[in-house]
């Protein structure tokens, strides 16, 4: 049968090689 009602269907891509490395992964993350 049909799906339960949908909130979202997504394809979430991460392009790691395009990440900004101006601040290293080591900086505490304060968003």
């Amino acid at each position: 049968g049909p799906s339960e009602p949908i909130l979202t269907v997504s394809l979430f891509g991460r392009w790691y090689t395009k990440d900004s490395h101006s601040s290293s992964g080591g900086i505490s993350n304060l968003e």
Partner: protein, 446 residues
């Protein structure tokens, strides 16, 4: 063993009162032991039901709101697992380590692997310019004890998230350990958004199962815990045992046992303040299982078809701080394309019945995400808008009425790392009801 029983425990942590003055070591131990009292019941229960391994959440012994000074009484010096130490049998060997001893004894006495998240302190040389003023590096740390109580793994979290109380290790650590039921890798919470160590453990170290303690605050529409974690397991084709904190006021809930082809068990509860134990049987070596999904060419379909007609009334809207291009699903059925820069997203769909008070859009975003602009995202999403006003598209919404009997979503991704997410009304997953075709289309199974 071909399979094993995994357990994760979503823990409603008992937190200390907010204070700027460090508590005594005795008070810190008192609080941590109260939390371990609760974890102990879950560990015993898991072992009684045949679980070989249990994962408990990040920050499960003391919470998360600290300064470098106020966390200090909670820390212990955690040695390298190469020292072959069973704290339960030799508790004095590395100084005053009652928390490590108790965790080791819980593993040993219940004959079960136990993962716990605690704090590590490492004395450093004050002449070293990187050594903090108090003379210690302080790390957010996962430890694993085997069924004999031996410390077999220690991992220091790399990608910290608003954690001024902790230091960042010099490099991402790639921590694995082998068992009779597969090879395991470990990382923590926000680490999952980055290549190292998360992807490297799967691609370079060929782990079968990731142990994943987290204190994850849910953010709709793309980053609720159950949604993203189940998608990550599916995208990287690995088992993921995710244990989240349970703290409704901070939107923290959502734990699961995720296999590469579907979630085996998951839990999302914004109604109660209770913890929850999850158990499920999973494949020890999923790559050899008949259910192991084939590799996906994520842009294969989207780059070979002629794009559907792009509507004139494409509009811009935000998901969090990211500016997406959206186009609305005005008809009951159709084929749509929306692009943002060089990312084009295609959707074919048919609604069973279009609810008049609901609007859905197809959205595309490619670029550096959020205010920090560190992580490069490529996202295709079909989502329900908060209201019928199109300016609300991308804002969090938790319920929906519209059912689809067909959907097919694809995109011209330039990355091989794509995670397929499906979230149903009331923030629920859809195990076994959708699949990813090897040409990159995310489709329902009806």
């Amino acid at each position: 063993r071909d399979t094993f029983i995994a357990a994760v425990y979503e823990h409603a942590v008992l937190r200390p009162k907010d204070t700027e003055t460090p508590v005594s070591r005795d008070d810190a131990l008192l609080l941590m032991n109260k939390n371990i009292d609760i974890l102990e019941k879950a560990i015993k229960q898991a072992a009684e039901q045949g679980a070989q391994i249990i994962v408990t959440p990040e920050d499960a012994l003391y919470g998360w709101k600290f300064t470098r000074e106020t966390i200090f009484p909670y820390l212990e010096d955690i040695p390298d697992p190469q020292v072959d130490w069973i704290p339960c049998r030799d508790p004095q060997r590395f100084g005053h380590t009652p928390i490590q001893t108790r965790l080791s004894c819980l593993a040993k006495n219940n004959s079960i692997y136990v993962l716990a998240n605690i704090g590590d302190k490492k004395r450093c040389d004050s002449q070293d310019s990187t050594c903090p003023p108090n003379g210690y590096f302080q790390y957010n740390t996962n430890v694993v004890y085997d069924a004999k109580g031996q410390l077999v793994a220690r991992y220091h979290k790399y990608h910290l998230y608003s954690e001024p109380q902790f230091d960042v290790p010099e490099k991402p650590e790639l921590v694995t350990f082998d068992t009779t039921f597969g090879r395991f890798g470990i990382f923590t919470c926000f680490d999952i958004l980055f290549h190292d160590p998360a992807v490297a453990l799967v691609k370079d170290f060929h782990v079968d199962t990731i142990l994943y303690p987290t204190a994850w605050m849910n953010v709709l529409p793309l980053l609720t815990a159950i949604e993203f974690h189940s998608a990550w397991a599916m995208g990287l084709r690995v088992n993921l045992l995710a244990a989240n904190i349970h703290h409704v006021q901070q939107n923290m809930t959502g734990s699961g046992i995720y296999a590469p082809h579907l979630p085996r068990a998951y839990h999302y509860d914004m109604e109660t303040d209770s913890g929850r134990l999850l158990l499920s049987e999973v494949d020890s070596r999923p790559r050899t299982s008949p259910a192991y999904p084939t590799a996906v060419g994520w842009s294969a379909y989207a780059t070979t078809i002629k794009p559907f007609p792009v509507r004139k009334n494409t509009f811009s809207g935000f998901i969090s701080r990211d500016a997406f291009n959206f186009t609305a699903l005005f008809e009951n059925a159709g084929n749509l394309t929306v692009c943002h820069k060089d990312l084009c997203c295609h959707l074919s769909y048919r609604m069973l019945r279009k609810e008049e008070n609901e609007v859905y859009v197809l959205g595309a975003f490619t670029g550096l995400h959020g205010r920090r602009r560190r992580e490069y995202w490529q996202v295709c999403t079909m989502l329900k808008c908060k209201t019928t006003n199109l300016t609300t598209c991308g804002q969090p919404v938790e319920t929906a009425l519209t059912r689809f009997d067909i959907f097919s979503l694809s995109g011209t991704f330039r990355t091989e790392y794509v995670f397929p997410e499906v979230l149903l009304t009331k923030v629920q997953l859809s195990p076994g009801k959708f699949e990813v075709l090897k040409d990159g289309r995310l489709v329902n199974k009806n």
